[in-house]
Symmetry: C3
Subunit: 363 residues, 3 copies
C-alpha cells in the first residue's frame, strides 16, 4: 500500500475509533472502528519490529523477529485474558494457526499460481517445520484427550508443564536454526536462487530489506504502535461480547475468524504480495513460521500470563479447535512437503478453510 494512504487511514481510523469509544453508544460501531484502527497499528508494529530487529544485528534481530513477530496477536490475547474471555483466547489462537496455514498459504499459492504455472521453493526447512508443527498439534491434542482423566488442578499442572516445555523447545529451535545449524539450513545443495537464502533463515519474518526508518525512529514507532495496539485491543475486547451477541455469532467464531483475521491481516497481505513476486519460499515461511510461533511461543506464554491476572488458563482446547488445528497442519504439510506449488493446491487449502469457517459459524 502507498505509505501516504496507509498513514492517512491509520490516523482516520484511530480518530473514528476514539470518537466511537467516547461518544457513540452503539457497540457495533465501536467494534468496527477499533478493528480497523487495530489492523493498521498491528501492521505498523510488525514493520517497526522488523526495523528494530534490523538494527539489533543478525542474532538478536532474528530472535526479536521470531518472538515478537506476532506481538499484536499477543497483546489482543492478553486483553482477552484480562477480561476473563479464556474461550475466546483459545479460539483466537486456533484462528491464527489455521488462518496462517489455510487462508494465508492458500491465497499465496492461488494468486502466485495464477501468475506462475509452477512455483518452487527449497523444501529443506519443510522437514523441520513439519516436525515442529506436529509437536504443536501433539501439545494441544494431549491435554484435550486427557481432560476426561484429569481434575482441574492436575490439568493446570499439565498445562504449565507443557507450556514450559514448548517455550524451551522453541528457544532450542532458535538456537539450532540460528546458531548451531545455521549454515546447514541456509545453504542446502539444491538451492535455486541466491536471493531466497536470506529470507528463509528467520522464522516467521518477512525478508529483511533496508529499513525505511532510522534506528531512533524505529524504536519510537515500536513503542508508539505497541501503545496504540494495546489501546485499540482494549477497546475491541470491551465491545466484542456485545457485538457477538447482537450478531448471533458464537465466541468460537468471533475468536477464530474475526479477531484472528484482524491480528494477522498485515502478514496475510505481505505473504500474498511475495507469492505474486514469485518468492513463494518466503511466503510459505511467513505462513508456516507464524503459525509455529503462535503455537509454540504465544499460546504457552499466555498460559503463564494468565497466572499474573489470576485467571489461570489451561491448554484444553475444545474438540472443534483441536480438529481444526490438526486438519490444517496435515493438509498444509501434505501440500508443502514437495517444495512445488500451483493454483490448485491453494484452492484445496481454501476449501478446507471454508469448510472449517462454515462449521465454526454454525456452532
Amino acid at each position: 500500500m502507498n505509505p501516504r494512504w496507509f498513514y492517512s487511514l491509520l490516523i482516520i481510523s484511530t480518530l473514528l475509533s476514539g470518537i466511537a469509544h467516547w461518544f457513540w453508544p452503539q457497540e457495533a460501531a465501536r467494534f468496527v472502528f477499533a478493528s480497523l484502527s487495530l489492523l493498521f497499528w498491528a501492521a505498523l508494529l510488525g514493520k517497526a519490529t522488523e526495523s528494530v530487529a534490523h538494527y539489533a544485528g543478525e542474532r538478536l534481530g532474528g530472535f526479536l523477529n521470531a518472538t515478537f513477530g506476532n506481538a499484536a496477536e499477543l497483546i489482543i490475547a492478553i486483553f482477552l485474558v484480562k477480561e476473563g474471555l479464556l474461550d475466546m483466547v483459545k479460539a483466537s489462537i486456533t484462528g491464527s494457526i489455521i488462518g496462517n496455514l489455510l487462508l494465508v498459504l492458500g491465497l499465496s499459492l492461488l494468486f502466485g499460481g495464477l501468475k506462475y504455472k509452477v512455483q518452487s521453493f527449497n523444501p529443506m526447512l519443510a522437514g523441520h517445520n513439519a516436525s515442529l508443527m506436529l509437536l504443536s498439534v501433539i501439545a494441544l491434542f494431549i491435554p484435550a484427550s486427557f481432560s476426561a482423566y484429569l481434575g482441574a488442578g492436575e490439568m493446570e499442572t499439565l498445562s504449565l508443564t507443557i507450556s514450559g516445555l514448548l517455550i524451551t523447545g522453541y528457544m532450542l529451535w532458535l538456537f539450532f536454526s540460528m546458531i548451531t545449524h545455521k549454515s546447514e539450513l541456509a545453504h542446502p545443495g539444491d538451492r535455486e536462487t541466491a536471493g531466497e537464502e536470506k529470507e528463509e533463515k528467520h522464522v516467521g519474518s518477512p525478508p529483511g530489506q533496508e529499513p525505511d526508518w532510522s534506528r531512533r525512529m524505529s524504536v519510537f514507532l515500536l513503542i508508539l504502535s505497541t501503545f496504540f495496539v494495546a489501546v485499540q485491543s482494549e477497546w475491541l475486547v470491551g465491545s466484542v461480547e456485545a457485538v457477538a451477541h447482537s450478531f448471533g455469532w458464537s465466541e468460537l467464531f468471533v475468536g477464530a475468524f474475526v479477531i484472528a483475521i484482524i491480528g494477522n491481516a498485515a502478514e496475510h497481505s505481505a505473504a500474498i504480495f511475495l507469492a505474486m513476486k514469485n518468492r513463494i519460499g518466503a511466503a510459505v515461511e511467513i505462513a508456516v513460521g507464524s503459525s509455529l510461533q503462535i503455537a509454540l511461543f504465544v499460546a504457552p506464554t499466555l498460559v503463564f500470563v494468565s497466572l499474573l491476572f489470576q485467571k489461570p488458563m489451561n491448554l484444553v482446547f475444545s474438540g472443534p479447535e483441536v480438529v481444526a488445528i490438526a486438519v490444517s497442519a496435515f493438509i498444509a504439510k501434505s501440500i508443502s512437503r514437495d517444495g512445488s506449488t500451483n493454483w490448485f493446491e491453494g484452492t484445496l487449502l481454501l476449501i478446507v478453510y471454508m469448510i472449517l469457517g462454515t462449521a465454526f459459524f454454525l456452532i
Copy 2:
C-alpha cells in the same frame, strides 16, 4: 473373461433374477440373483462408459470417465436413498472407498508382486492424490466431529455446504489435471515407460484402448446397461433389509462389504488384471482414482439427490466409518508414496481390510 461367457452369464443371471423377483418368495434367492445380474450389468456399464468416452474425444471423454466411472455405485445408492436406507448409503460409500484403497490395491500389489519382484510406477500424481484423499477424509471427519455441537438443521446446512465445496473442488481438479497442468502431470522427467503415460491422465479410468463397439452401439449399450443396473438395483435394495435381518448381518456390514463389493467388482478385476501385466501404475490409478471419485463426487452428489426424494441425507458418518476411511487413506498413502510396490505391501493392505471387515461384521 471370455466375452461369450460374459454375455451368457449376464443373460442367465438376469433371467434368474427376473424369475426370482416375480415368482420366488424367498428373499435370499432374490438378493443373490439380483446381485449377480447387477455385477455383470455394472461391468458392462463401466465398459460402455469408457467406449462412449473414447468417441467423445479426449476432454469430454476424460470428464465422462471421471464423473460417471462409478455410475453403478451411484445408481445403487440412489435406490437406497429412495428407500430411506440412509445408513446403508453411507456404509456403501465407506465400503467403496476402503474397498478400493485396501482390497483392490492390496490384491493388485499382492498378485502383481508375486509375479514381479518389485513394481514401479510414476509417483508424480501420488502427491496430489494424497492431498485430495486428505481432503476427502477431512470432509467426512469434520461433520462427525462437530455433530455433538450442531443441531439437525445446522448439520444439514453444513453438509450441503461441504458437498458443494467438494464437487467444486473435484471439478477444479479435473480442470487442473486435464487442462491447465495436463502436461506437468503427464510428462514427468522420471517417467520410465512411455506406455504408462496415457493411462495416468484420466482420473479413475482404466487405460484407453481401441473400443470393441461402434459409436452407436456404445451409446445403445450405455443406455441399456444403465437401465438394467437401475432395475437390478431396485430389486436388490427391495430385498436387502430382509436378507440382512435373516443372516443377522448389520446394515453397516451389508452396505460396506456386500453392496460395495458388488458395485465395484468390475474395477477390482480390471485393476488386478493390469497389475499382473506389470502395469501397476494404471492399477494404482484405478484404485485411488475410484475412491477419490466416490468421496469427492458420488457422496456429495447423493447429498443433493437425497433432497429430491425429500429424504435429506447429511454427511455425518458413524465413528467406525470415519475410522475405517481415515485408516485406509493413511495406510494406502504410506504404501504408495514411494512409487515402488511389492507383495508384502499388498499383504499389509489386505490385513487392514480383514481387520476392518471383522470389526464391521461383529457390530
Copy 3:
C-alpha cells in the same frame, strides 16, 4: 560397561533381591532390588539371545533375534497376566513402544548429535518401517474406537482375530525381509558405508559381532538368564501393586514408565552407545525394530497367552494409551523419514516423551 562390574552388580543385586524377598517385609525394598536384578538379567538375556542367534546361522538366528529380542518384556508381561494385572500389561506394552520411539531414539539422536553435527542413515527401510508402524497403530486404534459398539464377547473375537493377523503379518514381514527381498533391503544404491549393511538386515537386533561365548556357554547363559528373569519378574510383579499404591502412582504410570524402562534398559544403552559411535542407522533400527516387535509380536502373543491363564486379555487400550502410541509413531516417523538426524530432532522426541510422562503421572 566393564564386564567385571557388570557381573559383580548382577550377582550383588540378585543376592539383595533374594534377601529382600525372603527376609525384608518392606515392599519398596523388594521392588527396588527385584528391578535392579531384573535389569541386569534382562541385559544378559538379550546378549545370550544374540549369541545363540549367531551360532544358529543367519536365517534361524535372524528369526530368533526378531522374535525373542524382547523376551524379557514378554516374560515380565506374562507374570503380570498371571496376576490378572491386565491394565498394567497394556500400560507396559504402551510404555515399551513409546519408550523405544521417544526415549531411546531421542537420547540416541541427542547424544549422537552432540558429537556429530549431522548423522545420516540409509532411509531405505524407513518406508517399510513406517507402514508397519502404521499397521501397529491401526491394530490398537480399531478395537479402542469400536469398543462402544461391541460387547465383551465380540471384542474378544475381534482381539483374537487381530492378534492372529498381526502375528501372521509379522512372520510374512520376516519372510519378506530375510528371504524374498533380502538383497533389495540390504543393498540399496545409495548406501554410504558398507559397515551399516549388515546391521540393518535384522529387525530389532543390535549389530552382529563375534560373540564372547562358546556355543554351549551361550545356550547355558540363555537358559540361566531366562530363569532369573522369570524369578525376578515374579517377585517384581508381586510387590508392584503395593509399591504403586504407597507412592500414589497410577497403574498406567507404573506400567508405562517404570516397568517399561526396566525391561528395555539394555536396549536403551546399546542404541545410545551405537549413536555415539556414529552408527546412527543401527541405533534407529534397534529403537524402531524393537517397538515394532512389541506391537506386532509381543502384544498379540500376550492375547493368546492370556487364554492359557484363563484371564482373557483383549486389545482395547485406553484412550491415553492409544493417543500416546499414535503420537509417538507419527513424530518418530516425521523425524526419521529423511535419513538425516541432529541433536534438535532428539530434543523434540524427548519433549514429547516428557509431555506424555507428565500426563501419565498425573492420571
